[in-house]
Symmetry: C2
Subunit: 435 residues, 2 copies
């Protein structure tokens, strides 16, 4: 009997889930504050929905695809939340801009390794219907806000515009077809500059061009200086001009976020659907892990609706964020239960009394367990200690007779006897609510 | 291009999700208050995990199963949350009782129809490690508490014990093998008494026995009277004796819930793994829809761990609850956005000022949108009205010059001019926070 989940798939125990829920709550709250509303789409889509949207590698090697045994149709597990949203949006008529968020799992047949899973959660916010630089700026501002709220201090949002790179390539290299080149550059973090060189040499025979590409994507300057340098050299190119204008307007709005932003020509993002600004968030101590990413994809929705529909979005990798936070000591899984109070009947004859106490506490918002195994006081204490539940309320002969409750605060090792009637007020003063 | 989700799968728009999230929040809060902690398992399991756990029909007709093209292993989408939890638990050593909740989607290849989907969400709470009646009573108390919190007034929790029915069958019919009979009885709501008769006749040749089975499951009395009647006639049977004792102890603890409880011999639950008490919740105006169900399954975990491990759980059907609540007018999807405030710059020259206002509001907990499409005041008002956002803050020449803001409350059709510096306090007094 195979007891494990399939390779690359994971279980989450309570202590892990309590952390995950805290992280997801923070992200969801940020989305809502920025005016995004939730949608949900199915885990499974018709294969045709995905076909031709992501690029060759994703579609041939990474998407879980299977034949539905009943209908003989080809289904696939969703690879991201962006393409299903595009399909979803194309079916409907919402007032524009349509601002949606979606937090959910996606599946990719990656090689399982540290920080990379086959089932993982993304938290996406997208804005449909606007091509303005304000839109991209808002998404970037939101992304930075989220990482601040999560407690990260040292992180960088790398920014580029696919049109900027395309224009420079046009001017410097006379190259028009950039998609394959972008896919090679996208592997930089995984395979390094030498690796990218190898990939480029597979598709470009002229070694001088390969060397020039590597040179361009290695330009390193302060964001303003790099923009200035590109402006003064390539502004006659239309793609460069459009990108520079767009980026400049974005950066003006993001002036308060300057310390987090870095223009990086080596950032292209791997998926075919991006058309304009693209970004990725890197935690400074972990330079090879991108924890979030996004960009503009003005042509994707049209593939479903036939109608030009600009769109842009940002996506947080839940696992990446959690793994990164643990790695730098920001997050721990020290909390293993939400339970605040354990009610301990000292004999079955007091059980109904204890049961009623537990239920009154629950109705008043406390998170409560009661003995369910008819155990001795000692065994009950052992359980409470293993679960690290902060408070025990004992219900025995004395308590029932005198209508009092004995409350034991485990951390302080303090004991109090409280009249039953005062219990709720007493506890409200002594602990905060959960949930 | 197929634009729809596969048959039986659904998209959820924001107004639907806002309702769903409210419902799920209420349920999750109840779980936590009753001392349950969250776990998560993968969407996909090795087929062997499911094999032989649910019964023939479920396994052959209802489970989404596919061959992983890379490993050639057979995978399956989870059919419920109980069996994956059993597999999860068997791999680990937790202090007992282990109380977990899990809210997530499951997949079943049902015939799509009203209230029945191929992808749907379950909210499960289970208690592992205890065979006590208190355990089942707590799960039932929790279930009733949830339906009260959701706002349902008229509902019934039908209760039975598989051992009770088994004992009566042993005494009345000399039948030992009950699993096939239970599967037939379980179809009562779907196919009616005549249908069940037909199903029983397929497996039992003796028509007198079939008639007697139908008679027994039709016994209708007040819960106490029915227990009394069965006690006085069948107490010599061991299964009956065990079940009566267990049910009686449960009902003593649940004395405050009497009006919601009904002992129903025709309730068996369809899945093979149940061994003791079983229950289902029915909304009184919708007698054929069970909205929740559960029961004891003392032998399931042993199939994975080899160790006897009593367990019991309750499961809420999210779609069933929502569809039922809509049907009786308890739930509506009237809220289409969480956004409370729309910031309207009256020209691009005031955009940065408006942007900063929007971000200050967000930092203070308000849910805010700002124009992203460079629209006229009129067009912005139209958008706000379509989205039904309650408050607009205008930022124009007058406002920027005098450092004030014009706030418009749409419901009251009232306008106020507030100094920028007082904005947050003013709004905190006038609206409550979201999120």
């Amino acid at each position: 009997m195979k007891l494990c989940p399939p390779s690359g798939f994971r279980d989450f125990e309570p202590k892990e889930m309590i952390l995950r829920k805290r992280i997801i709550d923070i992200i969801e709250n940020c989305f809502i504050r920025y005016g995004f509303d939730p949608i949900e789409t199915p885990a499974i889509e018709h294969w045709e929905v995905f076909e031709g949207k992501y690029g060759e590698e994703a579609e041939n090697k990474l998407i879980y695809r299977f034949k539905d045994p009943w209908s003989n149709k080809i289904f696939a597990l969703r690879f991201d939340l962006t393409v299903p949203m595009a399909r979803f949006f194309a079916q409907r008529a919402f007032p524009l801009p349509f601002k949606r968020y979606h937090i959910g799992r996606v599946w990719r047949h990656e090689r399982p390794q540290k920080g990379r899973y086959r089932e993982f959660w993304q938290a996406d916010a997208d804005i449909i219907g606007s091509s303005s630089p304000e839109t991209d700026a808002e998404l970037i501002d939101l992304t930075i806000h989220i990482f601040e709220k999560l407690g990260f201090k040292n992180f960088i949002l790398k920014l580029n515009d696919r049109r900027l790179l395309k224009g420079i390539f046009e001017e410097e290299l006379r190259i028009k077809e950039v998609l394959q080149i972008y896919r090679a550059i996208d592997k930089l973090d995984k395979i390094g500059l030498e690796g990218v060189k190898g990939e480029l040499e597979k598709i470009i025979s002229d070694k001088i061009i390969v060397r020039k590409i590597l040179e361009i994507i290695s330009w390193e300057k302060d964001t303003d200086d790099l923009l200035e340098y590109i402006s003064s050299n390539f502004l006659k190119n239309e793609n460069v001009r459009i990108a520079i204008n767009h980026l400049t307007e974005m950066l003006d709005l993001l002036s308060g976020r300057k310390s987090f932003l870095k223009l990086s020509l080596n950032l292209v993002r791997g998926l075919d659907y991006y058309t304009g600004p693209v970004w990725e968030v890197i935690i400074s101590d972990l330079p090879l892990w991108s924890v979030a990413g996004g960009g503009r994809y003005d042509n994707l929705i049209e593939l479903y609706s036939g109608k030009t529909t600009p769109a842009s979005g940002t996506s947080i990798g839940i696992e990446r964020v959690i793994d990164a936070g643990k790695e730098i000591g920001l997050f721990t899984t020290s909390k293993q239960t939400y339970t605040q109070i354990y009610v301990a009947p000292l004999s079955m004859e007091f059980y109904k009394f204890a049961w009623d106490i537990a239920n009154v506490l629950r109705k008043n918002g406390f998170c409560v367990q009661i003995d369910l195994m008819r155990r001795s006081e000692k065994k009950q204490r052992e359980y409470v200690s293993k679960k690290n539940i902060p408070i025990i309320i004992f219900v025995g002969k004395k308590e029932v007779k005198n209508k009092i409750l004995t409350i034991f605060f485990r951390d302080a090792q303090e004991r109090a006897e409280i009249p039953s009637a005062n219990l709720i007020n007493y506890l409200k003063e002594h602990i905060s609510h959960c949930g």
